[in-house]
Amino acid sequence: MKTTETLTFECETGNYHTFCPISCVAWLYQKIEDSFFLVVGTKTCGYFLQNALGVTIFAEPRYAMAELEEGDISAQLNDQKELEKICLQIRDDRNPSVIIWIGTCTTEIVKMDLEGIAPKLEKQIGIPIVVARANGLDYAFTQGEDTALAAMAHRCPEYRQCETNRSKWGETGLIEIHTSNTKYPFPESQLTKSNLVLFGSLPSSVASQLNSELKHQCISVSGWLPSQKYNELPGLGEGVYVCGVNPFLSRTATTLMRRRKCQLVGAPFPIGPDGTRAWIEKICSVFNKKPDGLEARERRIWKNIEDYIQVIKGKSVFFMGDNLLEISIARFLIRCGMIVYEIGIPYMDRRYQAAELLLLQHTCERMKTPIPRIVEKPDNYGQVQRMQELKPHLAITGMAHANPLEARNIDTKWSVEFTFAQIHGSSNARDILELVTRPLRREGGFTSGSRSLSKQSTEG
């Protein structure tokens, strides 16, 4: 492989496999406990959801399809009336605090005015309606969450108002909660009232881990977008700092800056101990705090995952690309001693990911490995050809390609697992490696060293 000193980006045909962005309802409905997600689309969308989400569909989930029929497409039926009927039904059955409409390809093409209808219906039925256009014409997989959070950013209360509320009852209340479980060796008065809002949907346990990591640096997080409940959305406005926890949230970041006048903290993402440390340091620098004990903490984590690192050190990995987490995970794996051949990625926002890209570059220099090629909108067919030449030890890929690659003796890891597993914060570094090493730890058994098990290659 040729070595390049600077980052280069390639762009291919976009013929790649990924999940439809409407899949974001799967984790968002669980995150926002009082929400209901209504996907306005066709049978195709419904079929995808029911197959992709597997078992959850049986557990009376808080999402459903508004399935478009021929009459809707040909405008024989009135969109507003139809949606009203369905939303009333949802209100009566479930009584959610917010209904989120997910626009799809079909609503885009027939130009259904969801944004126009929503405020009218909202008034009529008395439940907030948020519109997110998470369609496959424009977005891939995790970007669905981005559209939903960007839409929700408009619904956050104004910051000023929030602050006056807090001065009434919040301050003492908050501090009492902190002191009641006195883990922290510093006096509460040192806690900076930081006006820091983090954005990105994480399981609540991971969110509180990140909260406490920051609290160690005397920075308190004033809120999360999204919050556990719709009514607890954080206050936004001038003077509020925002920082993303996931690499696919560029629209949300833009909305927070341009529409809500927040200040974006551009940091690498808290994935892996290196990423987490860089993330905290960046936030500290914004609030003029000197990071405390971070280096020792990072060293401890690295030591803790030493056994896993031994498994992957020197092995090569190929990211086919489908969920936008690729850069961060690749950066972490390089730091673990792996060689990354290619980072496929659906979409690359170089401004939003700037700090992450810089860290990737530094990591490569530090580990003395060549910078991998970054391929935007990859072409899966070409990638498979390249993989057959490069023979990586591990391919991180979608489920459509995993079994065929395994049959051709390339170990694979499903990329979607990184979306659903807990990978943020330094304490979850082990979980990432647990996923990455699993195919490599599996003892070769029957197939090791034997010929390919693909049917095609035995025929040809």
């Binding site: 976009g14 013929n15 496999h17 990924t18 999940f19 439809c20 962005p21 409407i22 306005v40 066709t42 049978k43 195709t44 419904g46 079929y47 995808f48 029911q50 197959n51 992709a52 569909i57 049986f58 989930p61 459903a64 399809m65 508004a66 399935e67 478009l68 029929e69 021929e70 809707d72 497409i73 039926l77 139809e82 949606l83 369905i86 039904q89 949802i90 390809c105 079909t106 093409i109 027939v110 369609n135 496959g136 014409l137 424009d138 977005y139 891939a140 997989f141 067919y381 498979v384 489920m399 459509a400 390609h401 995993a402 079994n403 065929p404 049959a407 098990l453 693909s454 049917k455 095609q456």
Partner: protein
Amino acid sequence: MKLAHWMYAGPAHIGTLRVASSFRNVHAIMHAPLGDDHFNVMRSMLERERDFTPVTASVVDRHVLARGSRDKVVSNISRKGEEQRPDLIVLTPTCTSSILQEDLQNFVDRASLYSESDVILADVNHYRVNELQASDKTLEQIVRHYLDRARKEDIFNRSLTDAPSANIIGILTSGFHNQHDCRELKRLPGELGVSINQIIPEGEFLKNLKDLPRAWFNTVPYREMGLMAATLLEKEYGMPYISTPPIGISNTADFITQVGKLVNLWAPVLLEKKFNYDLYVENQTKFVSQAAWFSKSIDCQNLAGKEAAVSGDATHAASITKILAGEMGIRVSCSGTYCKHDVGRFNEQVQGLCDEVLITEDHTEVGDTIARIEPSAIFGTQMERHIGKRIDIPCGVISSPVHIQNFPLGYRPFLGYEGTNQISDLIYNSFNLGMEDHLSDVFGGHDTKGINTKSLSIDNKNIDWAPEAESELKKIPGFVRGKIKKNTEFFAKQNNILEITVDVMYAAKERSNS
């Protein structure tokens, strides 16, 4: 617009892709937005397929909306033709692309000028047909295409094969136990002296389709898939077909009788002999299949009169209903299907075998019906399995929609004589085993279950149970407890009783006995 959570049959393009990817060396190109190629995931994961699914997308994105997708589709088709040299490329529209109303036929015509592969456009309407109907239609379209061409090019051999032979139509990827059924279905005619001419679409090369009419007759094991192709072959090539699914002893016997009839149309002329299968059927029924003996054996007595509910595609639901009611003496309280397009035939099949017939695509309706009936066992799809879990009723899965569990590695056909054995096991194991259930209730054994308060239908929750009544309820054997609880509550509601005491329970029991 309608509010929907779940569907039994997928969208039309899934049917087309299933047919295309079942043939050998056929590639499908979907005209679809990013993310619509989830079929590849399903095929790779459910069937644990080792090879790349021959389906790619020609992605519809903003640029396509602005400029039209002709150049992109055409270049994608010719590129795929060069890369993988398929015999045929099927351009597959999706619901999104069909509202764009581009002239896809025109793209296909242009692309076939450049491409060495044949190119056709799958001719299905996404808002009118479902997965099953679309697969039926696509198979017919491909068969018609290649037969017409063979006729035009005059490379066509219409003479019947020397020995009796049959085509099997409708075995395809992602079908419920299709691979095992296919193996069983190859064996069965073999034992009857009938060879298999072709099996379509599974594993067949398109260049062989021209020999389809050489078979003496066609068999269509599943009514959802293949009937259109069989009808085409009957109309244009005079080939008779059998559409009785050989599922269960009586259906299989019926199937073999029909084979006999069709074989004996020509055998006396061509081979100067007649085939008689009566002895074969008798031997198989008595010795190969254990199902007949099993339903006579003392085990099966415990099942007599137990209630079951059946739901699934038309073929499987009707056949299982027949087996339960006709062969095992089980009472089928409700039998239903989601195949709305085949209702007439379904009604005819299950007539007289069940108390009620339920034709619906709405799983909540199925769930409510099952909750109301409270059968001892359910035979349905994966959805019914989950309904059963929620209300604590065992379920045997007999039909698609499929799940990875429905692709067992072991040999599990539903068809033919081995199929009857498998089905008997499935049915028997789904009911709580007779004595075990009985004994544990009598001796209070390992009955640690609480009272089943789960119900799919929302009923009146204002009725309270007095503690002693509740403990009385616990003494009632598990399999009737739910029913008694419901009857009592119904009685209480009728008489405006707000708290159920032991006396109320007895009163309710008296009333329901009278």
